[in-house]
């Protein structure tokens, strides 16, 4: 079932009617049934893996909690009898047991993810080593289809289990509620990767049909469809042409083309989020936002706090902090602090953590060296900025640059957007060598285009649909600009009712005129991750 199909819309409205018709206490069951039906309609066999994840996470969470509870009541019953040392010993023993359960479940679930996502890549690397030593390579006969949303639901579920282990939340006692948390249909294919406490509050509370939620949700969904079906899908053929033929273009044309890709991926991914946040809003459910005007960021680190926010938060919470605060990082930090001073000692632990985070982030996005290098380049910029912070401060003070200066901020935004775009296109050419060739071409081909068609060779023709897409992209820019300071929706709702209806009708006509023919060409970019 394609998200951009009429079938999906009918499915959503059908589920919504049932959702509001049944007693409020069992509304979540409708969501579960809809989620299972949605998953099965897209990927029948994949549902078994979803069940494996839900079952292991459910069982382990309860097991971990039961050990903690037993310990607590044992301490309470024997308060007078146990010495401090005895208590510490029992605590250590139980903690080991809880850790073993956690690690086993994490290994199992990440193991499944790795098999489906990285087996071909691992085999390629093994064959590379074999061929270096002159051996005969292993034939790749593995034919595995990656289950829908496995990267997303595995991260979300394991995050929940770690939270139970850290005692940040109570485990869910109802298996089917855990299954809904793992498989909730609006977010299983591309996220957001939600926090259990926040999402469970939304999923399991009672929801009343409200005109405001319905209208807000519908408008957002329509805007999401426009972003995805009109902007992203229309631009996708131009971007495809760029990645295939950039060697025939001038360097400046290839450079401009990379910005088309930036617009495409943003419209595609944030469009999906708008569709799903809109769908959820119509159910009275609020999903965690995944974007916050990322292209207006003033640094790469800020960009990653605004783009795919929930993935960044997941890595921060479950990889960055645990690694940066691990005994080994602390030990290295302490040693370097003694030798090189406080700044170096305190910057080493986050540096170690960032190296790991960006390696894993690269791998998460795709099983290829191009993505690993892409992650490495992002990490390198962030780590470099962190280390150079004192130098930047001195330079800024010497040059009398004020952080609040609008001109300086505009420069920072533009610089970050260009950097992010150049980094972003790197893995999209298809291979490590392809990405490097594109970069080389951009910076080494200085030929001046003789005409507009040579400047924009990937644009077939400045037609009416092209102009409409360009105008909508312009509107997307204004929308993001407004959203930085004010809520666009509030402003929109201040307009007279007739104006709003007219605007929505125009949007609908644009989707029908340009979006529907273009949408049949492909799915969502992030669904491949």
């Amino acid at each position: 079932m394609l998200i951009t199909s009429l079938q999906f819309l009918l499915f959503v409205f059908g589920a919504m009617i049932l959702f509001y018709l049944v007693p409020k206490k069992i509304q979540w069951m409708i969501l579960l049934a809809a989620s299972i039906a949605f998953y099965v309609s897209v990927n029948v066999w994949g549902i078994f893996l979803v069940l494996v994840t839900a079952s292991t996470i459910y069982g382990s969470a309860l097991w971990i909690e039961s050990i903690r509870k037993k310990q607590k009541s044992y301490f309470k019953e024997n308060k007078e009898l146990l010495s401090r040392e005895e208590k510490a010993l029992i605590k250590e023993k139980n903690n080991k047991k809880r850790r073993r359960i956690l690690v086993t479940t994490l290994v199992l679930n990440f193991g499944i993810l790795c098999v489906f996502k990285y087996l071909h890549f691992a085999l390629e690397q093994v064959n590379l080593v074999i061929s270096v030593f002159g051996g005969s390579v292993i034939e790749d006969r593995i034919n595995l289809i990656m289950p829908l949303g496995i990267s997303f639901y595995t991260f979300q579920s394991t995050g929940y289990l770690i939270d139970v282990y850290w005692e940040n939340c109570k485990p869910q006692k109802n298996y089917f509620k855990t299954l809904l948390f793992v498989s909730f249909f609006p977010q299983i294919t591309q996220g957001p990767i939600s926090d259990y406490t926040k999402l469970s509050n939304e999923l399991f509370s009672e929801h009343k049909l409200s005109y405001e939620n319905f209208v807000n949700g519908f408008e957002r969904m329509l805007w999401g469809f426009a972003k995805k079906m009109v902007i992203a899908d229309y631009i996708s053929s131009m971007v495809g042409s760029l990645f295939e033929n950039y060697s025939n273009y001038t360097g400046i044309s290839a450079f401009i083309g990379t910005f088309f890709y930036s617009v495409q991926i943003y419209a595609d991914f944030s469009g999906y989020m708008d569709i799903m946040c809109g769908v959820c809003e119509m159910f009275g459910i609020r999903l965690t936002e995944n974007f916050k005007q990322p292209y207006f960021s003033k640094s790469i680190a800020e960009y990653w706090r605004r783009w795919h926010i929930t993935l960044g938060e997941w890595f921060k919470k479950y990889v960055y902090y645990p690694i940066g605060m691990s005994r080994l990082s602390k030990k290295i930090g302490q040693k370097t602090k003694d030798k090189f001073g406080k700044f170096v000692g305190q910057t080493i632990p986050p540096t170690i953590a960032l190296i790991v985070v960006w390696f894993v982030t690269g791998l998460w996005h795709g099983a290829s060296w191009a993505y690993i290098v892409w992650g490495g380049v992002n990490g390198l910029f962030i780590i470099f900025s962190m280390w150079m912070e004192p130098v930047y401060a001195k330079v800024k003070s010497a040059l009398k640059i004020c952080d609040t200066s609008r001109l300086w901020q505009a420069f920072q935004v533009l610089r970050t957007f260009v950097l992010v775009t150049l980094i972003k296109v790197f893995p999209e050419v298809g291979s490590l060598s392809g990405g490097l060739k594109l970069w080389k071409h951009i910076f080494s081909n200085h030929r001046i285009p003789a005409s507009l068609s040579e400047l924009l060779p990937f644009v077939d023709d400045i037609s009416i649909p092209f102009l409409i897409v360009a105008s909508l992209t312009g509107f997307l820019f204004i929308h993001s600009l407004v959203e930085r300071k004010r809520d666009f929706r509030t402003l929109f709702h201040k307009l007279p009712f007739a104006v709003r209806i007219a605007a929505l009708t125009v949007l609908f006509i644009i989707i029908a005129y340009i979006g529907i023919p273009a949408a049949s060409e492909g799915g969502f970019l992030y669904a491949n991750f």
Binding site: W166, E167, N168, A301, R305, K316, K317, Y320, Y321, P322, G324, M325, G333, G345, Q346, T347, P349, P350, M386
Partner: protein, 77 residues
């Protein structure tokens, strides 16, 4: 509490820590500075802050940090 305020003032002296309740969510302390903050807190109060305490709400205000320090100290006992 004064020791904690000194640590925070070293990171950014321009913030009124007694009233600010949005230090992390408001990005006034970023994920790099927080390592410096934790290192100084651990050294000053002789505690070990594990990743389970790394929740925004524990670092959003000086009072929340103070409560966390006391909770860790009680847990260690």
């Amino acid at each position: 509490m004064d020791e904690l305020l000194n640590i925070l003032n070293e990171i950014n002296p321009d913030i009124d820590y007694m009233t600010e309740t949005n230090l992390i969510d408001g990005k006034m302390i970023d994920s790099f500075s927080i390592f410096k903050l934790i290192d100084d807190i651990c050294e000053t109060f002789d505690i070990d802050i594990g990743p389970k305490w790394m929740r925004n709400e524990n670092f959003n205000s000086v009072h929340a940090m103070w409560d966390m320090i006391q909770a860790i100290q009680n847990e260690d006992e």
